[in-house]
């Protein structure tokens, strides 16, 4: 789990630096990423403009995120969203509505042992499951600098086609775009 976080941070850092130094390059986002607000995680992503004008822009956005419930499970999400970004006239703000399709991997703690003398836990057995997750999302962002904007995002998805039954997910994000 820790290595996943580190990997995402390592991945995000050069992208952020690259983005800051390259005018006109796609923005890089890094955010707090959570299922229902309490399974904390991190997500990095970018977005490419496909078409549009000053009032609307069609985007496509690849993202990679991970969130965890420390004593239970960890989810890794590889997601691709297509959306419509609408800048708010006269404000440094925008909204984006998008639909997404993602691959979701769940690694769940199945069992573990506890030592009756020391209380140490170990021998953690995990089980994996893979899902496809369609989603819809709404994002609100505002720029505080020419190259920096903050955003909050809410996505509603359903994990499908796994060994476990489908289940609704409410994915919340708060982060920065550079």
């Amino acid at each position: 789990m820790r290595s996943l976080f580190i990997m995402l941070l390592v991945l995000a850092t050069p992208l952020v630096l690259f983005s800051q130094e390259s005018a006109g390059r796609p923005p890089v986002s890094i955010s707090y990423f959570s299922n229902y607000g309490f399974q904390p995680g991190i997500k990095v992503g970018t977005a490419f403009s496909l078409a549009g004008d000053s009032t609307r822009q069609w985007l496509i956005s690849p993202q990679l995120g991970v969130f965890t419930n420390p004593s239970d499970d960890t989810h890794t999400l590889l997601n691709l969203e297509a959306g419509l970004k609408r800048p708010k006239p006269g404000k440094n703000a925008y909204t984006t509505m998008a639909i997404g399709l993602g691959y979701l991997h769940q690694s769940k703690l199945q069992s573990f042992s506890v030592n009756l003398g020391s209380g140490q836990t170990g021998d953690r057995q995990r089980v994996g499951d893979n899902f496809v997750m369609p989603s819809v999302s709404y994002e609100y962002g505002w720029a505080t600098h020419r190259k920096i904007s903050w955003f909050g995002k809410c996505a509603l998805g359903t994990r499908l086609l796994g060994r476990n039954e489908h289940s609704m997910m409410l994915l919340l994000e708060f982060g920065i775009k550079l």
Partner: protein
């Protein structure tokens, strides 16, 4: 005895889940980790001050009674456990021959951190481990108004622990009973307790008399409420009033084997309101083989309180299983009866010397009175008297620690 500190992070369990949601409303569902997911530190392996050298009588060999004897043995204090039933364990009981894994006929879930187990063993020298299941269901349905509805997203908010290839019973049997077995008298229902003198004297229904300096009373609440034991002098009025404020309602567990699995991990009866409000009791059908090393399809029925009475009142076991199969057939499109193999029933309401499930409902006003010792001679332990988590095995065992500590303090 050395002291250690044990750290552990845990998920919200069912009881906490219900309590939290009831107390804080639906908003709490969004941030349960803020409420219960924090790390907790417990001061494990306590060292008690010892100013007592007499003999302690313990009435009842359930989780609290066994633990009390076990802890007293660790301090070298003389004790004797008197149990009414022909077996020890009380509401901790197992069926070893029903499936290819042992089944908890009584207490089953571990409603707290895994580290409670070494805390109860209270011996850092023990070199043994127990495998536990992360009991976090993936499929959760509700049965409401004769409709079965998927509510899988609720599984995000719920998780606790269970034993993987052992049981609560075997936990006590393996690690505590060896220390108390020689001090345990079975088939000895206590009918009279006399604490009018310096000593405490108890008499069983065979007119055998046991004498000690202190008494730890661990019988279920129902036994005291039914006046099954005669006290001399009588229990104080405030104690009797407190007893009358608390209920120990009906309870039953039924385990069924099916040739095919047709049920989710967890099915709540009564809709989401039943999950949020357990005032009248609780009823679930659950995959009892969840996380176990087995290919058997074992479905459990667990119900306490008002929902349990419809089952505990059924006269015969044959009628009971037919009633349950009919209900499951309604829920699961007639799949229960054709796949039924066998079942085992544990009716706790009809169990001699038990008479119900466990302490139920809000006992915040009565609980402090019930926990009070009488005349510095009679101490109380059991799930009713738990220092924190009443209605749990670990709560019962922890109450034994409290009683022993008070006695040893002198």
């Amino acid at each position: 005895m050395s002291k250690k500190e044990v750290k552990h992070t845990r998920s919200m369990n069912r009881k906490e889940f219900i309590k939290t949601c009831s107390a804080l409303g639906i908003g709490a569902w969004m941030f349960p980790s803020l409420l219960t997911g924090c790390s907790s530190e417990e001061d494990a392996f306590p060292e008690f001050e010892v100013n007592f050298a007499g003999k302690v009588l313990i009435v009842g060999a359930g989780a609290a009674g066994i633990t009390a004897g076990y802890v007293l043995s660790q301090y070298g204090i003389d004790f004797e456990i008197i149990e009414a039933a022909p077996v020890y364990g009380g509401r901790v009981k197992e069926a070893v021959n029903f499936a290819d894994f042992p089944i908890d006929l009584g207490a089953e879930w571990i409603h707290t951190d895994a580290t409670i187990l070494p805390v109860l063993i209270n011996d850092p020298e023990v070199d043994a481990s127990i495998d536990l299941i992360n009991y976090s269901p993936e499929s959760l349905y509700v049965w409401n108004n004769n409709k079965l509805k998927k509510r899988n997203f609720f599984t995000n908010f719920y998780g606790e622990l269970k034993f993987k290839s052992t049981t609560w019973y075997s936990f006590f049997d393996n690690y505590m009973i060896p220390a108390v077995r020689n001090k345990l008298t079975l088939n000895s229902p206590v009918s009279h307790i006399d604490y009018s003198s310096d000593k405490v004297s108890i008499t069983n229904t065979n007119n055998e008399v046991f004498e000690g300096d202190r008494l730890i009373l661990t019988v279920p609440l129902t036994i005291l409420k039914q006046n099954s034991i005669n006290f001399n002098p009588p229990l104080p009025d405030r104690k009797i009033n407190a007893l009358n404020e608390i209920e120990m309602p009906d309870g039953i567990k039924v385990f069924m084997e099916f040739s095919e699995r047709f049920y989710p991990d967890l099915t709540y009866d009564g809709g989401l309101s039943a999950i949020l409000n357990e005032t009248d009791g609780e009823k679930i059908y659950y995959d009892a083989a969840f996380g176990k090393d087995t290919n058997k399809n074992i479905l459990g029925l667990f119900t306490v309180g008002k929902p349990a009475s419809q089952y505990t009142d059924i006269a015969t076991d044959a009628e009971l299983i037919q009633y349950i199969l009919n209900e499951l057939d309604q829920m699961f499109d007639g799949k229960a009866t054709p796949n039924y193999v066998k079942h085992v029933t544990q009716n706790w309401t009809n169990e001699p010397y038990i008479g119900g499930s466990y302490t139920h409902g809000d006992n915040s006003s009565a609980s402090p009175v019930l926990k009070e010792p009488i005349d510095g001679k009679i101490y109380f332990a059991g799930e009713t008297y738990a220092p924190e988590d009443y209605a749990t095995v670990h709560g019962a065992a922890q109450s034994a620690f409290v009683a022993v500590e008070e006695i040893l303090k002198g």
